[in-house]
């Protein structure tokens, strides 16, 4: 019932894209509800940029369908373009023009004409802290300034759907925070955002839903919290002497039911726990009952980074 009422700002089914022998997209399915932020996460070469280019009409798909901002990217690209803005992985401003000239040009092309268009462009420069550099050619800007100008250009037209391809790669923490704030404000005002990133923290902070992309497919999706829950938590104990490790490992196996990783040098034993009812006091009580001389015990939620590594490399994980 609820599902039927959801409208999707981005909806793709079975997108395929080849570059010669390279199969960049192999049936990518995406569904981003209107007004949400979706984070595409994936390693280098996973197909994130290709996905963004196909969804923004820059590159036609070889197979599959995609509707963006209510229109089909293949048959109504012009209508799609009217509802979107995109910031590519590489800067999308003209290095030979000043920041102001760039924004005024994009304002004109967005049909924001005359004095009101110029005022909007100038306002965006101020809002993104580029007022002082506005009349310098953008090739003299730092990477962070150029990114901010890119974003300002994207937001000129109040797009329905905003695509950001690795918006904070190579930025210092302050610039990154600035961009996060801007994206969050935009999302709060109702714009749908699809962003790609390699930083899980970014997805964690911004995205309502995270989609892991691997070899051109969406492999796992869920809220950041769900993804973390899916891989469970990690129990690790430190014991007094090496001889106690076997006993500790037995207890952990009994508690978690999963393979225990033992590190004799650090005198640690650890295991992944998927059972949400497992608590730290329980772990400690069981170890105590087995007379394991305990120094330290932790049960921690994995970071999204660990979740990402586990979910994209299941083979390596079981081998460990």
């Amino acid at each position: 019932m609820l599902r039927a009422m959801t409208t999707y700002a981005v909806l793709s089914e079975g997108l395929e894209k080849h570059f010669g022998k390279v199969h960049a997209l192999r049936g990518l399915d995406l569904a981003v509800p209107e007004g949400t932020v979706c984070g595409l996460l994936g390693r280098n070469g996973a197909g994130k940029t290709t996905a963004v280019r196909v969804l923004t009409t820059l590159s036609p798909p070889d197979a599959g369908t995609a509707r963006v901002a209510g229109h089909d990217v293949r048959t109504e690209p012009h209508a799609v373009r009217a509802g979107i803005s995109v910031t590519g992985q590489h800067t999308g401003v003209d290095g030979d023009l000043t920041g102001r000239q760039n924004l005024r040009l994009f304002a004109r092309l967005h049909r924001l004409r005359g004095a009101s268009g110029r005022a909007r462009a100038d306002g965006m420069l101020e809002r993104f802290g580029l007022g002082e550099a506005a009349d310098r050619p953008t090739r003299t800007y730092s990477g962070g300034m150029r990114r901010r100008l890119d974003l300002a250009a994207c937001m000129l037209s109040r797009p329905r759907v905003l695509f950001l391809d690795e918006p904070t790669t190579g930025l210092d923490p302050v610039s990154r925070d600035g961009i996060w704030t801007a994206v969050r404000e935009l999302a709060d005002s109702g714009t749908t955002v699809l962003l790609t990133t390699q930083y899980l923290e970014e997805a964690d902070r911004l995205a309502h839903e995270v989609v892991l992309v691997d070899e051109g497919r969406a492999t796992v999706r869920g809220t950041p919290a769900q993804l973390k829950a899916e891989i469970g938590s990690y129990a690790e104990v430190v014991v007094e002497h090496e001889r106690a490790l076997t006993a500790a490992a037995d207890v952990l196996t009994a508690l978690t039911g999963s393979a225990v990783v033992v590190d004799a040098e650090r005198r640690t034993a650890g295991a992944v726990a998927t059972d949400p009812t497992l608590t730290l006091p329980l772990v400690v009580r069981e170890l105590d009952a087995a007379r394991v001389p305990l120094i330290d015990a932790t049960l921690r939620r994995p970071t999204l980074d660990e979740a990402f590594l586990r979910l994209t490399n299941p083979a390596e994980e079981t081998a460990a």
């Binding site: 036609p60 012009h78 590489h90 023009l97 040009l105 994009f106 092309l109």
Partner: protein, 271 residues
């Protein structure tokens, strides 16, 4: 494969987008003053080089003045230079991320090349001013009426517009600036195999045919005709024998061929 989409906008919108893109090109020029100086000075250097270094050795039929013959030819080389600048600019732009932003905007695919071609016309109009003054200084005169002289200017600008589209198509085809720079020198050769510097009547028969069918020749002949500096050219090929019509037809044919090619190429590049 889908066909490149064309804006669903009204023509006024299309012209406005082209205008916005033209401003972009002119703003870029402003940040490269040395390029402006070169653009203005190069044709005048050619005038001095050919007019005075080679000029003495050039014998024209009926003892006509060589420098007065040369000046209209150089007007047209200003126009033909649009091929070089169009090519280099398009190749330079093709490698820039800003093109993706343009392609993702709801503007016509032809707005970018149209803006570039319009800026070519603007640059040529400016470059004509010192060239006309230099021409007058070396003895070239407008011997027809002012209306025909303006007609000649119109043909020069129309040809520069067409040359801008040809250049952009070639630039997008090459896709990189170095290659575009190399090809530019070959384009100069195109002006040599025409009536710009020497009358084709002095060339071997086959070369004369090539030179007279060179679109540049028709425009040069029209400029000489309209400014009252025409030489008799017995047995010339049709575009040179009917130079005004020839210049118009050639420019329109080149536009009809290269506008769609450049727009298609522009819409498809970067996939």
């Amino acid at each position: 494969m889908t066909t490149p989409s064309v804006a669903v906008d009204r023509p006024g919108q299309w012209a406005y987008d082209g205008w916005a893109m033209m401003i972009r090109h002119l703003q870029r020029l402003r940040s490269a003053p040395s390029l402006i100086v070169l653009t203005l000075a190069a044709p005048i250097l050619m005038l001095l080089l050919f007019g005075y270094v080679f000029g003495g050795a050039m014998a024209l039929p009926d003892g006509a003045d060589y420098r007065a013959y040369l000046v209209p030819g150089l007007f047209v080389s200003i126009a033909a230079n649009g091929m070089m600048t169009g090519m280099i600019t398009a190749a330079y732009d093709a490698q820039r991320g800003v093109m993706d932003r343009f392609r993702s905007l709801p503007v016509s695919r032809s707005a970018v090349p149209l803006g570039q071609a319009l800026s070519e016309v603007f640059v040529a109009a400016v470059a004509m001013v010192p060239m006309v003054l230099a021409g007058l200084a070396v003895g070239w005169r407008i011997r027809g009426g002012a209306a025909s002289a303006l007609g000649a200017l119109g043909l020069v600008l129309l040809f520069r517009f067409a040359a801008g589209w040809i250049g952009q198509y070639l630039g997008l085809l090459l896709g990189n600036e170095e290659a575009a720079g190399q090809l530019s020198s070959l384009i100069f050769a195109l002006t040599l195999i025409s009536n710009t510097y020497v009358p084709p009547t002095s060339m071997p028969g086959w070369l004369r045919t090539v030179a007279e069918w060179n679109p540049i020749s028709a425009v040069v002949a029209a400029c000489r005709d309209l400014t009252g500096n025409a030489l008799p050219q017995p047995g010339a090929a049709w575009p040179v024998a009917h130079p005004v019509a020839g210049a118009l037809v050639w420019s329109l044919v080149l536009l009809a061929v290269f506008v769609p090619l450049a727009v298609r190429r522009f819409a498809r590049s970067g996939r």
